[in-house]
Each structure stands twice: as C-alpha cells, then as structure tokens.
C-alpha cells in the first residue's frame, strides 16, 4: 500500500540531520519509533471500530529500518500497515480501505493517521535538530 504525503519541510531538515552526530541520529530513531507507534495505534483503533474488519486490527504493525544512502549518509524509515502474509487477516485490509466493485471503503484511509501525527513528528525532529546542530 503506497501512501505519499508532503514532506518538503522535512527534506531540508533531513539534510541538516545528515551532518549531525550519532547522538542526534539516535534521537531521530526514537522520534521515528514514537511516530510509528502513534500511527499504528490510530490505524488499529479505526480498524477495531469496523464491525466487518475488526479482526484485521491486530495485524497492523510496523517495522523500522535504516537505509544507507551512500556517501556516509543514511535514512531512518518506518513501514506501518497490516501484515499481508498468506493466511493473515491483513489480506482483507485492501477491501477495508478501498472497497470492492460493489461498494467503497469503510475504514478511514491510513493517510488520516499519518497526517494526525505529522505536526508532532516535525516538531520533535526540529527540536533534536536544534539541540544537535
């Protein structure tokens, strides 16, 4: 499931963070982790609220990983969403979010959870950037 959102202000900030030390990068990892937890919690809550799809709620999780961008810089990324392994109830998430040929989706789009967390995420990153640069 691909979701995009406006990260233009974050790009400038991430450029600054690449110059920061390991201590700042460790704090950034914490910020990404907290953001992922909050987004996961809202997505689970919205799925649990659905009579038809509440069984999918527990399949929503997140993974955090680092990406080597080369040249000594890197990125921290979080992937949040339903697990779609064979047999997982998460395989029905697409129907929950986007519906079928007979009707539209009935569970709020995950971008809502993302947008709800974005101001806190940006503020937290700006704070540690200010402390470390």
């Amino acid at each position: 499931m691909a979701i995009t959102f406006d990260t233009s202000e974050l790009h400038a900030l991430s450029a600054d963070l690449t110059k920061a030390g390991e201590a700042v990068q460790a704090k950034a990892y914490g910020v990404v982790s907290r953001g992922a937890v909050q987004i996961k919690a809202q997505m689970r809550m919205e799925m649990y609220a659905s009579k038809s799809f509440r069984g999918i709620g527990s399949s929503i999780s997140y993974d955090i990983g680092g990406v080597d961008l080369g040249g000594g810089s890197g990125a921290i990324e979080a992937e949040i969403g339903p697990t779609t392994d064979p047999g997982s109830p998460g395989n029905l998430a697409n129907v929950a979010y986007f519906g079928t040929s007979r009707g539209g989706g009935t569970v709020p789009d995950p971008v809502g959870a993302l947008n709800a967390e974005l101001p806190r995420f940006e503020a937290a990153l700006a704070k540690i950037a200010g402390e470390g640069i």
Binding site: A2, I3, T4, N94, F98, G99, T100, S101, R102, G103, G104, G105, P108, D109, V111, G112, N115, A116, P119
Partner: protein, 135 residues
C-alpha cells in the same frame, strides 16, 4: 458532504456515478464516489467552530475488464484531475478543491461473477478534498 459528493458525481458524465454503493446489476462501466461523512480540517478555528473539511474521497471505476477500467478511469481523471491539476467543485457557499492523491492497482473482483464476461475489474483513485466556507 452530500453537496460535495453530488458535485463530484455531476462532473462524471461519461458513465453513471453512484454514491458509495452500486445497485443490483448496474450497466458497466460505472463509478462509485465514496468517502467519510465529513472530516474536520486540521486547522483549529479561533472560535472553535470547525466548518472546514479535509477528507479523502474515493472514486472507484468498475468495468467488465481491465482495459475498460483504464479507459473509464482516464475519463474520470480528465474531469477530476485535468492535466494533473486540482479541480474546483461547484458547491454553494463553499470553496472546494479536489486533487488526485493516490491510485490503487486495478484488480478483478472475484466475489462478483458477470453472466458473460467473468469477474468485473475495478480500480480506485483517491482524491483529497479541501473545502472551506466561501464567506
């Protein structure tokens, strides 16, 4: 929100557009326009009265085969996202804009079987609706 859904449906003239759910045996292709009842915007008004709307709207295009879905989806984007731009909706008393945000892969709906052509296919485009009072 009804006025916004109605405004979107009015733009989709190439094929019939339904609000959220399709009736029994609808002629194909068709569109489903769906979304929340109305999501308040993220900006907090000084008087705490929240009349702005920031919502995701789905437009599902359904047809007998993937090619027909792509053609009908192109027609819907031609009016809802002309040239990739946002489009203004005609809603009385509101300034409302719709922008193409995301698109899901076209896939067959294996839960539905058509008499002659097998399973219908569908594709979902997600639009972001921003609407504020115009006065």
């Amino acid at each position: 929100m009804l006025a916004h859904i109605t405004a979107i449906k009015a733009l989709l003239t190439a094929h019939t557009a339904y609000d959220t759910a399709a009736p029994a045996n609808p002629p194909m292709p068709y569109y489903l326009v769906w979304g929340p009842g109305g999501t308040p915007g993220v900006e907090q008004a000084v008087d705490d009265v929240r009349l702005d709307i920031d919502a995701m709207i789905g437009v599902t295009t359904v047809a007998a085969n993937p090619t027909a879905v792509r053609v009908a989806q192109g027609q819907s984007r031609g009016v809802l996202a002309p040239g990739g731009h946002a489009v203004a909706l005609t809603v009385t008393g509101r300034a409302a804009w719709l922008r193409l945000f995301d698109s899901q892969p076209i896939e067959p709906d294996n839960a539905v079987t058509l008499p002659d052509t097998g399973h219908p296919c569908y594709g979902v485009d997600m639009y972001r609706l921003i609407s504020t009072p115009s006065s």
